[in-house]
């Protein structure tokens, strides 16, 4: 009945399997079960070790080295079968419209140069950018650049395709049918929301960041050992920004703004020093009138005011010696600070 009571040993997996084992009677207690299992297990391990030592070994530093043979048992699949991709937006559209896929040639005959040219890529057949003359249409507005417009349109198209590609990938990722190379790629898809994919860092940005890191030492990176091929930092020191030397026809708006700002600030700060002649004159007049009123007493005040219809004392009565034009410098005009500092 049992022709072989040998164990199946698979040295590739270091596996020993006894298919003919059965418990003669159900074990009565847990300890008995454990002891029985251990004894059976020891026999299996012994079989594996016997097999290992029977293999040809080579001498290595640590001891005898053995190369395991190929495994004979087939293990079940670790990962699931690849799920079918969801149809992309274009595929859905093509299906609904009944558009068939057509085989395209990689090279096409170019009439103009009489040669075989690629259908896409460098030096392609109908390159949009190679057209030397674009005829103006009635709908074109004067002053527009049709070449620039074409470039813009192309850019927009490229952006649109990129966006659609990402959307398709996101759909596939939702189901779990993302192609494996995309999962491992550096451009990770955003988990939530519709963010744009993370931008690649340009060489300049990396350079500036590297420069910042290099100078972030106690001595400003002066005595650090440079790695082979490391170029010196480009913008060393503070990067100051200045307005252009001549904007428009000499003085531009920005410069005017700046000077006005500074001027107003300074004027405001020193306004107590700057003499406002008109104000000084009126203040003086008012003061004089008040003094005059108090000194002469009530009677004179009444008589002088009765003569005038308004009842006000005459204006311009006392001609002040300071009534001069504001501009053109006023000398000795009540200035407390006599000399120029």
């Amino acid at each position: 009945m049992e022709a072989e009571n040998q164990m199946q040993v698979d040295l590739g997996h270091l596996l020993a399997f006894d298919p003919y084992h059965h418990f003669p009677s159900p074990p009565k207690s847990r300890e008995e079960l454990v002891t029985q299992c251990l004894s059976e297990g020891t026999k299996l391990v012994q079989a594996v070790v016997d097999g290992l030592f029977n293999l040809t070994s080579t001498e290595a530093l640590e001891g005898p080295l053995v190369k395991l043979p190929k495994p004979t048992t087939r293990l079940p699949r670790e990962k699931h079968l690849p799920r079918p991709k969801p149809p992309t937006k274009w595929e859905l559209f093509a299906k609904s419209k009944g558009i068939q896929k057509r085989k395209k040639n990689k090279v096409l005959w170019d009439e103009q140069t009489d040669s075989w040219k690629r259908s896409y890529g460098y030096d392609r057949v109908n390159d949009d950018a190679d057209v030397p003359i674009i005829e103006a249409k009635m709908t074109d507005e004067p002053g527009g650049d049709p070449f620039a417009k074409r470039k813009e349109e192309k850019k927009k198209r490229v952006e649109k395709t990129e966006k659609n590609r990402l959307q398709n990938l996101k759909q596939a990722a939702k189901i779990g049918a993302l192609p494996s190379h995309v999962q491992l790629a550096a451009t990770a898809l955003p988990i939530t929301g519709t963010q744009a994919p993370p931008k690649k860092i340009t060489k300049d940005e990396l350079g500036s960041v590297a420069g910042l890191a290099a100078t972030a030492t106690a001595s400003g990176g002066k005595f650090d050992k440079k790695v082979a091929g490391e170029k010196p930092v480009k913008h060393q020191g503070k990067h100051r920004k200045f307005l252009p030397a001549a904007e428009g026809s000499g003085m531009g708006n920005r410069e005017k703004e700046q000077t006005d700002k500074v001027l107003n600030k300074l004027m405001a700060k020193n306004s107590h020093e700057i003499l406002n002649v008109g104000k000084a004159v009126s203040m003086y007049n008012v003061k004089k009138q008040r003094d005059g009123r108090n000194q002469k007493g009530r009677s004179s005040f009444d008589s002088s005011s009765k003569l005038k219809p308004n009842g006000k004392p005459m204006k311009g009565d006392k001609k002040s010696p300071y009534q001069k034009s504001r501009k053109g410098g006023s000398h000795g005009g009540g200035s407390k600070k006599g000399k120029a500092e």
Partner: protein, 100 residues
């Protein structure tokens, strides 16, 4: 040649304010021929706009001076007035004394 930045302009204007006072407005915003301040090396020049535009065609190495030099910035960042700005100051001074 370059423009003065804000800090530099404040320093220059403050210095001029001490001598000129309120008439600084005349200098900075003269309506007839617009004038502006420019820095070449560390000297501040008071140049007319037309001249400035033409001076931009001269390279920095070859440009010596333009307009009137009102002063210069020292190594420590202080601003000193020079003698060439006397004409400008005299026209707009705060306090004048006439001698017989």
């Amino acid at each position: 040649m370059r423009l003065l930045d804000e800090a530099e302009t404040t320093v220059v204007f403050e210095k001029l304010l001490k001598f000129i006072g309120n008439n600084l407005k005349n200098i900075v915003e003269s309506p007839a021929r617009r004038y502006c301040f420019r820095l070449q090396k560390n000297r501040v020049y008071y140049v007319s706009e037309a001249l400035v535009k033409r001076a931009t065609n001269i390279s920095q190495k070859n440009l010596v001076a333009m307009g009137t030099c009102v002063g210069r910035f020292t190594h420590g960042g202080k601003f000193h007035l020079t003698v060439q700005c006397l004409g400008l100051l005299a026209a707009n001074a705060k306090h004048k004394v006439w001698l017989k």
